[in-house]
Amino acid sequence: MYPNLLIPLLTALALALAGLVLVAVRQPVSRRLAFRQIARRRTEAALVIGGSMLGTAIVIGALVVGDTLNFSVRQEAYRTLGPVDERVVAPPGPTGRAVTERLGALAGDPDIDGVLNAQATQASAVSHTDGRTVAEPRVLAWQMDFDKAARFGAPGGDSGLGGPDPKPGQVVVNEPLARSLSVGAGDPVTLYLFGVPGTYRIERVVPEEGLAGVGLGGRLNRDVFLAPGTLDSAARAAGAEPRSVTFVSNRGGVESGEALTDRVTADIRQALGPLAGQTEIETPKHTVLRDARQAGDSLGALFLMIGSFSIIAGALLLVNIFVMLGEERKSQMGMVRAVGMKRSRLVGSFTLEGATYALLSAVPGVAIGVAVGWGVAVVAAQIFQGWSVGGSSIRIAFAVTPTSVLNGLAMGLLIAFAAILATSVRISRFNIIAAIRDLPTTPGQRPRRRLLAVSSTLAVLCAFAAVPAVARSQPDATYLMPALALAFATPALLRVLPRHTVTTLVAGAVLVWTLLAPVIRPRIFDTPSMSVYVIQGALAAFSAVVLVSDNQKTLLRPVRRLLQRPTEGGLAARLAVAYPLAKRFRTGATLVMYTLIVFVLVLLTEISGILRAGVDGVVADATAGYSLRLDYNPQVAGDRLVSDLRGGPSAAGIAAVTPLLNATGRATDPGLRTSTASSAAPAARPATTTTPATPSP
């Protein structure tokens, strides 16, 4: 997924690695210190490797889910469409024959390796098996030359339909039709062609692949293939005409042919000349593949959103472990500084050490990520199975693209590097004496002037950027800009107010804004983007934890009595809170991790609640209050069905029956460049189905 991210990510990773190599080469003492720690501190190494593995694994897992979905839909497209790249549908009658004739010229086109003419009509079918009558009102009846069909796009692979033509009185049906009629080879079936019934024997059943699964735009097609001339004579007898359909296969295989879609479509248009305005040129494979890509991307993005909280938590875990390492080595680090190691070298050493852990974690991280992606795909496959209608569900086929692996790897490593670098800078800033004697570090001095200038400028810039962002309800910036402005203002505030007040003020303001923003600007959630949830969650979690940790004394006041009891329990409680209270940074980081986890759980519950509530709404919208929909062919059943329902034995249980007619119409744009089929109801001349429905009592 995200091929457009590949180059920037790899560039950033290459720069980071180059920087690390530079440090390793230019600072031999830092390098020795780093690598010695790695070699001699196995447990710590394992912990850090685990922490940075998490980030890589989650990113890759999310991307692999996208890959798998994308690949599955593509496979489905290749399987069901086979060599068919374009489909030209002409109206019945002389125009259709003229279109067929003009398209014959395409046979010599170097971009095309197959042109196949066919006639089709909507039909319905009935079978009598085991004394039961089964009807299928939506059948596509085809008439095509099996010989030519077998050779259609043959250089690129199986066309899906071949073998001898069915003899007169015999038909070939595809699997979906056989399934819905519960019939097999040798069984009789009644077809209503142009409203006239006729009985045929099923010669064979073919899988719905390639030409054997073609349709006129539906996702699942129940096809019956007739003997040559059958459709023509049925049409003549009924005074009607079948539709002309021409299939075109682009040069190349099932997959590679798609690339030529634009050129071939132009060629077809040219070949049709003035008739182009009355014909439909469809690019089913191209359309399905584009949809597949979009579906894969958006599902991958959803997993990435949920995953990004885990990534933040993973990065915090890394920070936590590193702070712990720093604390444990405090006195020796103090000594190293005392004997003359500069702070920057110490940062270099820590960063090298951490980056090495991150690199060591890369391979297992990728493996776990792929496994996670596979697991999600398996679950997703079960969900899709549950959604399937008439066996039309897509089959989930696991897939991993190198792009996704590289993207995930680069992203995971960069996140780990950033976390490690930031932590290294922080843990290298200690008072040498306090470190050597393992005393708690005193809070930092007042901010330096340059930092103050830079941060104040940024604060002003963010504040300015916040105004239009909030005014226009831009989702991410509405949250982020005011929060950043507040955070950048901290050094300036520290000049005039005590640290505790500033921290509480800034964290409180950010928290209040995070909670208030959706109330003031409700439209920030009118976006398909998921990043707003990530920003909201991260801001809320961080600011709340800072607020709590900065006011721990006040918060603990109500339980102080309890803690200070001179009993054994009181002592135990005091011991229990003493460490977390003293190690404020670590406790804070741990709390943020837990907060984020709780946040994700709540968010997921909320999303599933919204979806569930949505289902009822969608059902109500789609059914308009009716509980049953009966499809039937009006040419066969006439209006009798409606009166039968109204007066039949179940009439007492039926509140209303409403016949609904629909027919295929055609609309052209003023320039006659395209033509699109659309439904109209009720139509003047019902062509296919009438739909009565009964409202639920």
Binding site: P28, R32, L33, R41, Q332, M335, R337, V339, R343, R437
Partner: protein
């Protein structure tokens, strides 16, 4: 260091003040302290616990910040420099021996000793050679590949001394170097320090609360409540107080 240097001032501290702040409590650990140490001197610092001996060492070496005054070492004002420059200066001119030995546990003895040499850019071969020489000098030639956890306390402290001296620093700071050692080992370590001062003119400032050790140093200063209260020169045989004004 030859006798030519002996009269040159190596360290000049004037009006040094250090205040520890813990919450709202303030402790003045050094109060307008003046001190001058010349090249080749071995100075003992004694005083009751909490009198500011350790603080003096930390502040005059530039390891800790001060709240007032000025410290010049080898002609450079320590607190006028950036942290990086001070670190570089420290690497070139100072060595440290602390009560807790503070060796790098993942490094072998020789690697610990060569660390300060490598930090000032000595070539690895040269650093290794000098580190081995120094370990020989402290009688640890047979323990060079051992890691700190594999050495006894006395051996560890001798490694620290080797580390402090390997870079031939102008001044060595030692804070209770024998505090964690039994008396036999303490004697060994003291012998070594005295020998280095006597034979090689190594300048040493040594903090101790042990009067037996205090008796062995040529110059002894006494502290009380963050101030110098006594400053005497003593010969090896008799303690002959000599009037010495530390600051000119």
């Amino acid at each position: 260091m030859d006798s030519m240097n002996t009269d040159r001032a190596l360290l000049v501290a004037s009006g040094v003040r250090k205040i520890y702040r813990t919450g709202s409590v303030e402790v003045t650990a050094l109060l307008d302290l003046d001190l001058l140490v010349r090249h080749g001197e071995m100075v003992g610092v004694m005083g009751p616990s909490g009198s500011g001996k350790t603080t003096l060492l930390n502040c005059l070496s530039g390891l800790d910040d001060i709240d007032g005054g000025r410290v010049e070492v080898d002609g450079h004002d320590l607190f006028a420099m950036s942290d990086a420059a001070r670190t570089e200066h420290r690497a070139h001119t100072m060595g440290f021996v602390f009560q807790a030995f503070n060796l790098i546990p993942v490094f072998s003895a020789v690697e610990n000793v060569e660390l300060p040499l490598l930090l000032v850019g000595t070539r690895p071969h040269e650093a290794r050679r000098r580190a081995l020489d120094m370990l020989d000098r402290v009688d640890l030639g047979h323990r060079v590949e051992h890691r700190p956890s594999e050495l006894s306390g006395g051996e560890q402290q001798r490694v620290t001394i080797a580390r402090a001296l390997a870079g031939r620093p102008a001044i060595v700071w030692a804070d209770e170097p024998t505090g964690n050692l039994d008396s036999a080992m303490a004697d060994q370590v003291m012998d070594l320090l005295c020998e280095l001062n006597r034979d090689e003119g190594q300048t040493i400032v040594l903090v101790t609360h042990d009067s037996a050790i205090g008796a062995r140093v040529p110059r002894l200063i006494r502290m009380h409540d963050g101030q110098l209260v006594d400053d005497v020169r003593q010969t090896a045989t008799a303690r002959a107080p000599s009037p010495d004004v530390p600051l000119g």
